[in-house]
Amino acid sequence: MPITVIIPTILRPLTNQQKHINLEGNQVSEIIDHMEQQYPGIKEKLVTGGNAHRFINIYVNDNDIRFQDGLATSLRDGDVLTILPAVAGG
């Protein structure tokens, strides 16, 4: 069973407006690389200098990857990976 990735509104222009994508991968970083192969341009929206962008939240199931192993967080079949841009400003 693959990993389900939930895509936020702002990135859907890159995924042909798909809200959910199913991909195989053992780590968050692998999923992002596989997304990049299918939807070029998405990786730079998520990753900078080997880490997730400061203002991009990535969760595996209900857990923020900042409090796990970041992009190296491991995944199991059936996990849900949610991408949410932070809501922030000044």
Partner: protein, 147 residues
């Protein structure tokens, strides 16, 4: 144009004044595509700063999941400006990610006539819009304010 119930406006202003001088923040959810703000959800400002806000990431996930299950979207995204005018700051513009949302700013330093302002922020462009405050919606619609 943002059409919004006066009770929701009062709730945003009260929250902003209570949190002053820390920036307040939150959303008002409504049925997807309806453009109608109904369900006010104050969010925790994880920055706890006077000139910056960021939704607590864990709370944001829960609230976004709940909206998704209820087929809602963030119709209004609001925050306060505690020592500047109610106009989107540079970081407000750079970090805006919901093109369909009304970005409402509540000034708590000089709150004249309870004036809030609303903007669309699309592709880093800011467009101010009129705010129409109404005393009632259609009777079948129910307001909800989450404590």
């Amino acid at each position: 144009m943002l059409t919004i119930h006066s009770k929701l406006v009062s709730a945003m202003i009260t929250q902003a004044l209570n949190d002053h001088p820390i920036e307040t923040c939150g959303i008002i959810a409504g049925p997807a595509g309806s453009n109608l703000p109904l369900r006010l959800i104050p969010m925790r400002n994880a920055a706890q700063a006077e000139n910056f806000f960021i939704f607590d990431p864990q709370q944001q996930l829960q609230v976004w999941k709940e909206m998704s299950a209820r087929r809602e979207e963030p119709v209004v995204i609001y925050h306060s400006h505690t020592n500047s005018q109610a106009y989107p700051s540079r970081s407000d513009v750079e970090l805006a990610t919901e093109p369909q949302a009304h970005y409402v700013i509540i000034p708590t330093y000089h709150l004249y006539n309870e004036e809030i302002r609303s903007f669309r922020i699309v592709d880093q462009m800011v467009i101010e819009e009129r705010v129409r405050i109404v005393q009632q919606y259609q009777p079948e619609l129910e307001l909800q304010m989450v404590a």
